[in-house]
């Protein structure tokens, strides 16, 4: 059955959600992933939206922004931005989703500036963190969703907006121990989901491991489009394609393919 790369990404994102989890949901693909997980394997997950919303059923209509009126209607709690982020800061959010312009092999994410920002004007000024850096700092697991292009998956990002596993230095590795060193309370990237592949992370070294490559691509093609030398997960294999039921839910939610086309 035919499907688009974005539909596959939504399916991969949904598979990150476990039943009963508190999920900090971003816009676009994660939003649809939340809807998909709810109606398949994770009926009891709860979605948090930084505009000030908690809801446990997908919005009745496709959203262009999380603040759209249909997302407020039927929510469990409509409140302040701080109020929905406070539980995340305290450790109650299991999984957070974010996207970015650049990511590096340690899962550090840049959504702020491309270029040598410390000494001159940035080459490209991106919108910035939004809630991304907070989600990356506070959620127990982070799932990153990105377009897979060689200039986006880099050895080192120009600017760390959302901390992943940092970098190794002369004496210490990246990874969980780096997060502890800098003072982050928990968490770290659990998955990097791209148009070509899915990566997991080695929490000790902090490095991305190729977990699966999407049907129609090869490890070689993924390497070509990746700015660092791939390390493979032990069970690295082809990404299981979407099931019919999964595609059905996605297309019911986004019939025009606004986000998944």
């Amino acid at each position: 059955m035919h499907y688009t790369p974005r539909e596959l990404m939504v399916v991969c994102a949904a598979r990150q959600i476990r039943d009963g989890e508190n999920v900090f949901v971003g816009m676009r693909l994660p939003l649809i992933a939340f809807a998909l997980a709810k109606s398949t394997h994770a009926p009891n997950c709860v979605g948090f939206f930084e505009s000030g919303l908690v809801r446990d059923v997908p919005s009745p209509e496709l959203l262009y922004t999380m603040g759209d009126a249909p997302n407020i209607y039927g929510s469990l709690w409509t409140t302040t931005t701080l109020n929905v982020m406070r539980p995340m800061a305290a450790g109650d959010v299991h999984l957070g989703f974010i996207g970015g312009a650049e990511v590096d092999r340690y899962g550090n994410l840049n959504t702020s500036m491309i270029g040598d920002w410390q000494h001159q004007h940035p080459k490209v000024r991106l919108p910035g963190s939004g809630g991304g850096a907070d989600i990356a700092s506070f959620s127990q697991r982070l799932a990153i969703i990105m377009q897979h292009e060689r200039h986006r998956l880099r050895e080192k990002v120009d600017y760390i907006t959302s901390p992943g596993y940092g970098y190794p230095d002369a004496h210490n590795p990246a990874g969980e121990s780096w997060r502890k060193r800098v003072g982050l309370p928990r968490g770290g990237p659990a998955a990097l989901i791209t148009t070509l592949a899915v990566f997991t992370f080695d929490k000790q070294s902090g490095e991305a491991l190729l977990q699966s490559y999407h049907p129609g691509t090869t490890i070689e093609q993924v390497q070509e489009q990746t700015g660092w030398t791939l390390r493979l997960a032990n069970d690295c294999r082809e990404t299981p394609p979407p099931g019919e039921e999964e595609l059905k839910v996605i297309r019911e939610y986004d019939p025009q393919g606004v986000w998944t086309g």
Partner: protein, 304 residues
């Protein structure tokens, strides 16, 4: 006493050159575009803008040259992506250089919370290991006096004025807001003064019938502006929906400086006020954005 004023008077009196202004506080909905456009028409200079994420309103104020500094978490176009005027200013100083102090949604919220609490700062563990504390001189990292672990200290931000878009208000500035409110409450309590822009002006009794829904203390309100559709193209729950197409048109038309100028002239400079703007927008488009289905809150009894 009534604080009702025209938008022109409210901006002229309470948003002088060089002031720090918190607006666009509820993230995507309730963005006071009418207020922003009046700021542009009055050619305000050297403003500091404060918000969590700002949909395209900040981009417009930057492109029009009103802004010297941004303290925000995100400046872009939520449904379309990058903000072109913001890029031109940050990358090429066009139309003028701007200082950017980058926050996250949580830390800009904590900065306003600190001011509202009369506390010098709030300590937190977000952003540690990120480059924001290096980019933003206001943020600092200190060991916790309790256990020595690193803490990010977020100093208080006290806006000169906060502009709040509300569904309804009385003439004194007792206002009701519903739907997602973002950082409206923190910004209201943190600011030296507040301008309320309301879809409807209602009798005091309507507001006081539900005091738990009131947005903030009215003693802080300097001006109340009655501006129906004042938040278009953003959404106002129960009044109108977000005009996604408008954001798309803005995104495509403002890629070039000339394109932005043309857009600004068409939608802001040549529309003397909101009435003219709405006339240009047209009835059919307003109708298409209007409420199709009403969903009323369950009754609540304040009786005794």
């Amino acid at each position: 006493m009534s604080k009702l004023t025209s938008m022109a008077d409210a901006i002229a009196r309470y948003v002088p050159d060089g002031s720090s202004v918190a607006l666009s506080l509820a993230l995507e909905p309730l963005i006071p575009f009418a207020a922003g456009h009046e700021i542009i028409r009055q050619r305000r200079q050297n403003l500091t803008l404060i918000a969590p994420i700002s949909d395209i309103l900040f981009d417009q104020l930057i492109g029009a040259g009103c802004v010297a500094k941004i303290s925000a978490a995100w400046v872009g176009n939520v449904s379309e992506g990058l903000a072109h005027c913001y890029r031109r200013a940050a990358e090429k100083d066009i139309p003028r250089p701007i200082t950017i102090e980058e926050y996250s949604n949580y830390t800009i919220g904590l900065a306003l919370l600190a001011a509202s609490l009369g506390s010098p700062y709030i300590p937190t563990r977000t952003l540690l290991g990120s480059d924001l504390p290096r980019q933003n001189p206001a943020l600092r990292i200190e060991p916790s006096p309790i256990d020595g672990t690193p803490l990010l200290l977020v100093p208080a931000i006290r806006p000169d004025v906060t502009i709040v878009q509300a569904q309804r208000s009385d003439e004194d500035g007792n206002a009701h807001i519903w739907g997602s409110v973002g950082l409206s409450e923190e910004a209201w309590l943190a600011a030296r003064g507040v301008i309320v822009v309301a879809e409807e002006i209602v009798p005091r009794a309507v507001i006081l019938s539900d005091p738990n829904r009131v947005a903030g203390p009215s003693y802080k309100v300097r001006a109340v502006v009655h501006e129906p559709w004042g938040a278009h193209p953003s959404a106002v729950q129960g009044y109108y929906n977000r005009d996604h197409q408008f954001y798309h048109e803005y995104h495509t038309r403002t890629r070039t400086l000339e394109g932005f100028q043309a857009w600004l002239d068409e939608w802001v400079m040549s529309a003397p006020d909101r009435a003219a703007y709405l006339q240009k927008l047209g009835q059919p488009r307003q109708q298409s954005l209007g409420v199709k289905e009403h969903h009323y809150a369950a009754p609540v009894d304040y009786g005794y």
